[in-house]
Amino acid sequence: MGSDFGDRFARPALVAAVAVQAYFLMAGQASAVPAYAQQTGEPCATCHVGGFGPQLTLAGRKFKENGYTTRKAGLGFTPPISAMAVASYVNTQKDQAEPPAPHYSTNNNVTLDEASIFIAGGIGDHFGGFSQFTYDGVGRAFGWDNLDLRAVDHMTLGGSDVLVGLTVNNNPAIEDPWNTLPSWGFPYTDSDLAPGPASATLFDGGYEQAVLGTTAYAVWGNGLYTEAGFYFTPGHHFLSALGADEGAGPISGVAPYVRVAYEKDYGDSNWEIGAFGFFPSLSPDGDTSTGQTDSYRDIGFDASYQLQDSENSYYTINARYTHEDQDLNATHLLGGSTNASDTLNDFRLDASYYWHNLVGASVQLFTTTGSSDALLYGDNRTLAPDSDGVTFQLDFTPWGDGSSPFGDRFNVRVGLQYTMYGKFDGASTNFDGLGGNASDNNTLRLFLWTAL
């Protein structure tokens, strides 16, 4: 059913997406090569904590909520095209059992992680967005990446201004303004060559670029943010044409998504608290032979705090807790799980300090726990999905304050990440029954991230 539904809606969606992107491209050829910074006349640091990367300031969140439409007074239509690339050196404490990808070694790999082109900007006062196309340097393939197209308007309800918006996107929560949810959460860059735990909630990357969805949101004058929408799996041909797959499995019908948050702004500081829910039913690996589907209920809470001091340095904290109920009706019948129902719990807490938008230090604690299942987690000695650890990051953004000698558009960040695992796939020691320890997966990563 998911495929039929997807094919029916995918064709007009594809036509619409191509039309919008063609419009951006045509306009781009008419005006130079501007980006959001050029559109707004603002340096990167106005919208991005640390002057680089996805972590948004309050101004950045407002720009996003307003559909990326705000532009510097007096500027005409300036459709932007931007580019980005990330490269890494990845070292694990112990050689990985197998090379993490073809053409790589079991350790000490240097790679181009990704190179992307963004078509992004606002059209008038009501339409804006971005579409990212990426060359995956590890998988050595092109594909579509994040998509976030918006229509926005302001209206007056009960005497208060309300910003209302409609998004079309391909990654649940990619449209969210805060950096607490997985799509734009810490770490803001990683490498596919680094080992990672096998278990994660579906909300945490299970449907990146594997779905299309639309959500409607409202930003109320009193700080309340409300959003609701749904996601579906486009047809197989649609996804293949864009270099994507069906992610965790084709969604049966549509998957509802809801979001509510409250933000309080004190000028130099602000905090947010919210909740979210994502409810997909899916056919595991597309197998519909059982006539059953697996149903997931991902419900969570998040909170964030930001403080900008008088010297334009930032302190940030982001937290997220997700509880996932898994009714594995199809998987259980197919012999993929011992239990008909399982659960996962995931908690993330990160804090960062950015000095003058130049030097940043961040740390994240993460822990995933869940019910044991002898078939679902059969590769784990303890038959449990549990993992936990901590990630440290130090980074330097030499022109994060907007002083790039190569123009306002050029920016670069060099950083060092180190991830330590306390537990990995169920245990601290001998997690795989083959003598592997969680600490074997401790990963040091040096990255170079450029954008223009």
């Binding site: 707004t40 720009f63 910003l163 702004d265 000028g267």
Partner: protein, 133 residues
């Protein structure tokens, strides 16, 4: 001779005092302070009297530039010739940590919206109004 000097001094004092009173009655500006903060005006709603002359003292003690943009309000008022250059595109720009004074006579009763036109400041709450009664 000393008495004459003393008398002249007393007379001069009274003449100067009388001149000052007359000037004040004739419309010497009434000082009013408006604070521009991250991201709000204080007061948020400024109340003025039609026909009065004010010296508006815009002070920005924050670490960000702001402006007091009210094109209709400034358009409906008579700004002192010395201060007209401070009104650009209907607003007064006040750099971080600075202050700007504008003398003006407000003429037309009404309610005038005020907003900061800096990037996203209005969306962050930096809006207000001037009420002329």
């Amino acid at each position: 001779m000393d008495r004459i000097v003393a008398l002249r001094g007393v007379l001069s004092f009274f003449v100067a005092f009388a001149a000052g009173v007359t000037a004040a009655q004739a419309g010497a500006p009434t000082p009013v302070s408006v604070s521009l903060e991250n991201y709000a005006y204080e007061p948020e709603n400024l109340v003025l009297k039609a026909g009065e002359t004010y010296r508006l003292h815009f002070i920005n003690s924050s670490n960000k530039d702001h402006d007091f943009n009210a094109p209709k309000f400034f358009g409906d008022s008579t700004v002192s010739p010395d201060d007209r250059a401070k009104i650009v595109n209907g607003g007064v720009e006040v750099k971080a940590g600075r202050a700007v004074d504008v003398s003006m006579t407000v003429s037309h009763p009404g309610e005038y919206p005020v907003t900061c036109t800096h990037f996203m400041h209005a969306d962050m709450g930096m809006e207000g109004s001037v009420t002329v009664k």
